[in-house]
């Protein structure tokens, strides 16, 4: 019997670049086939070829679905052939109900009039089949981000997709939401669907998939049954070199306290009375990496934003830099006090995507680097070039537009921007989200270098191995409260998770 999907010898050229260089990939019914590789390896390009984003004729090679040659001229044609891609960025309309979103563009209709009853009953049936306890008439905007992802999958299945492509589906999910997703995916596999699973999280790839294909630089490196693989092997194939330990071992010598926050309380500005952070206090020393762990929604980002003077719901909090109290009402106050903040979500909070690298780099320190009133472009260019070299930002020049860079290089630009403010303490919120393994490792090296040079670092991350691998001390948040604090040697994954889920309340004196 023919495979559900076969892609043979696919070549895809962009001007000056061979993005896919003879890539072959196949998928059977009832299989979860994982596709892994660093950013830029060609995963998205391959899926765009499959999904009709690059129509037939713009690539070379052959696609067969159920043994039949397929030539998709559009996304719609690919969808009609049973291929559905759930992208990392959600394509739902928050004001529309779940049902309206599921059938968007394909509403059941008679002489042009939408059959509302039919719409809702069919949508409810899809949700029930997935065992999702959701009401079809709820506006999508009311759902959490995890549930929205599940609605996105329901939308794909409502189109009778037999080939489901998931691109980083768990990037925004909590662990429990991810577990729900995995149950659903396994059930779909049993029902005979084929699933292509793209993820940077190798743990879930290894536990979920049947086969793993590794792409590197537009070529297929290997396709093997998951049983025969482990994390080390996969990472080595992804990066093309043996990675013994992606967390460089460090022994910082923490010094005196550089930054302290006392009694930070933050209210949800939209829901008065609901506390996002309740009376949180912590301190960080010179040369120390303080990890802040916690599940999504625990209030980690809100805590950092509130300290930085950028959260409208801050009710209380006292801050001390090098022992003296500082008043922070606006990010400019924080910057002046020597605090830097690499915010999460670089596209939303970090970068001016349509401006040059150098405009981005100098933004937070413009008055010091360039001049208080009049700018000095040459001084900026020199500072920018130095930063690019220091952090190994790969781009043609400092005048390259930031939005054209890869995720890892964009993240380095944000980091470099804050280093140019010469901070005494640096907050990093999810500094490695959505970037490839190589870039991650470089960010880790930078964190260690900065700490060894005496900077105090607060690292917020939802990737536990990252926190455990880098931090000298870990503070755990659960529902806005600090529920645990661990020294490096006591910070085991089990202990931190227990505190993060509210099952422990131990706090060591620091």
């Amino acid at each position: 019997m023919a495979a559900l999907l076969e892609m043979r010898d696919i070549f895809k050229r962009f001007p000056g670049v061979l993005a896919l260089d003879r890539v072959s990939f196949d998928l059977d019914s009832g299989e979860i086939h994982a596709l892994v590789g660093e950013n830029g390896a060609g995963k998205s390009t391959l899926m765009n070829v499959l999904g009709g984003v690059y129509p037939h004729g713009t690539y070379e090679g052959e696609i067969r679905v159920n043994g039949e040659v397929a030539r998709f001229g559009s996304v719609r044609a690919a969808e009609d052939a049973g291929i559905a891609i759930v992208h990392q960025e959600l394509s739902l309309i928050p004001e529309f109900s779940i049902a309206e979103n599921i059938f968007l563009g394909r509403e059941p209709r008679r002489i042009g009039i939408i059959q509302v009853e039919d719409l809702y009953s069919r949508a409810q049936r899809v949700l029930d089949e997935l065992h999702l306890k959701l009401e079809a008439h709820l506006p999508v905007g009311y759902l959490g981000i995890g549930q929205q992802h599940l609605v996105e999958i329901a939308k794909a299945l409502a189109r009778n997709a037999r080939i489901l492509v998931l691109d980083e589906p768990t990037a925004a999910l909590t662990d429990s939401e991810a577990d729900v997703l995995f149950v659903i995916l396994r059930r779909l596999r049993e029902s005979g669907a084929g699933i292509i699973y793209i993820s940077h999280k190798l743990g879930e790839v290894l536990s979920l998939s049947d086969r793993i294909t590794v792409l590197r630089d537009g070529r297929t490196v290997s396709t093997d049954p998951t049983k025969t693989l482990d994390t080390k092997v996969v990472i080595a194939r992804m990066v093309g070199r043996e990675v013994t330990d992606i967390f460089p071992t460090t022994h910082h010598q923490p010094d005196n306290v550089v930054f302290e926050a006392r009694g930070v309380t933050v209210e949800d500005p939209n829901v008065p009375g609901k506390l996002l952070v309740a009376n949180a206090s912590f301190s960080v020393r010179r040369g120390e990496v303080l990890g802040i762990a916690g599940l999504v929604g625990a209030g980690r980002s809100e805590l950092m934003m509130a300290i930085f003077g950028a959260h409208p719901g801050r009710l209380s909090g006292e801050f001390f830099v090098a022992g003296s109290p500082v008043a922070i009402h606006h990010p400019s106050d924080a910057i002046r006090s020597g605090i830097g903040f690499v915010t999460e979500d670089r596209k939303r909070f970090g970068l001016l995507l349509d401006q040059t690298i150098v405009s981005n780099l100098t933004l937070a320190a413009l008055k010091r680097l360039s001049g208080p009133l009049i700018t000095h472009p040459d001084a900026e260019t020199v500072a920018g070039e130095r930063s690019m070299k220091e952090l190994r930002i790969k781009a043609r020049s400092v005048f390259t537009v930031a939005g054209t860079l890869s995720g890892g290089n964009q993240q380095k630009v944000v980091l470099a921007k804050w280093l140019l403010t010469d901070p005494k303490v640096l907050f990093l919120d999810e500094p490695t989200r959505g970037i490839d393994v190589g870039a991650k490792q470089e960010i880790y090296q930078q964190i260690n270098r900065l700490a060894s040079e005496g900077m105090a670092i607060v690292l917020v991350s939802s990737e536990l191995p990252e926190v455990l691998g880098l931090a000298d001390r870990v503070v755990v948040l659960h529902e806005g409260r600090i529920t645990g604090e661990f020294r490096r040697e006591d910070a085991t994954a089990e202990a931190v998770m227990a505190a993060a889920t509210g099952h422990a309340a131990e706090r060591v004196s620091s």
Binding site: F14, I335, D354, Q355, H376, V382
Partner: protein, 401 residues
Amino acid sequence: MTTVDRDEEAGLVAPELGEKRLGRWRVSTSALRAYTMVIALIAIWIFFQWKTVSDLYPYGLFLHPVNLANLLKQMSVTGVLAVGMLFVIVARQIDLSVGSLVGLAGGIAAMTQGWGLLPAFASAIVIGVAVGALQGTLVAYANIPSFIVTLGGLLTWRGVILYLSKGETIPVRLPVFRQLGVALLTPASGIALAAIAIVAVVWLTIRRQRARRRHGLPVASTAATTARIVVPSVLIAVFIYLMNMQGGVPLPVIVLLAVAIAGNFLTQSTTFGRYLYAIGSNPDAARLSGVNSQMHIQSAFALLGALVGIASLLHTGRVGSASPDAGTLMELDAIAACVIGGTSLMGGRGKVSGALLGALVMASLDNGMSLLSVENATQYIIKGMVLVAAVGFDMAGRRKS
């Protein structure tokens, strides 16, 4: 080097943002766009020149120095407004009240003529700044969308001038006030001005080279440096020569040039300008980088208000009277000039030179069609289509990679 390959790919994910390949040359898309607009303008000029050939003007009337001076006078009011509008649009805001405010400020200047020239001029500018600052405060600090605030302003300020003037047109009595809109610089001072401008071009170019060398940055070749001095110098000389042929440079054109130079300096060479672009590009990122967005947005509106005051003086002086419906629809001309000149209504992108080019395109269409006695109705239709077409071409060019 595999990493370089990867970056090439990464760099090509969104090539429309940065550069374009033309044969073997890479051209930045903004430069490409500017060339396209200049070519479009030249095409418009050639067309009108050809169409205005007559027995009296065998080579065409349109580019005759007298008409050119007329065209530039017409352009000066829109141009001053467009420079101000640019500040606001770059910061991802809009101001629809500009036309009504021209009416109000011009009317107040005419009413205060009795106090003397300076108080009259000052009151127009002060009222512009005050109204701009008020609207900016409502936008920045009360979080009311600028579209709404200034739509309200469009109605309110028109109402205020109708009330104050009791619906009557006030003639300009002070001779100097009237001169502001129509006077010509003497040919001798025109030549002096050209000399100063050329010296400034030379000095700035050399200073720039020195600064680059001091910072250890690559310096442009001698040929490029020479071109950078010679081309603008020739343009200045030709401009002054043409204007002197018809009696001298019109004063409002000098005002526009001064505003443009100041506006260009503000947007390109100050931290204030840089922050406006940052706010327009990504307000959250700008705020988190320590930019005081509220103060900057408020100031942008106030600055626009000041330029509206200046424009109202030019307009009132040229017309010779302040009618209560003066300035109607001028906001749309100013916005159109910015947009034709490549300013993005989504903020973060646009230059003074572009806005001036846009204003020149609009004025050329106005002037050329009047020379050809095109009906008013047709003029509106053509201008509307040109606006949409200019943006349409821009978007189409950007999508192709």
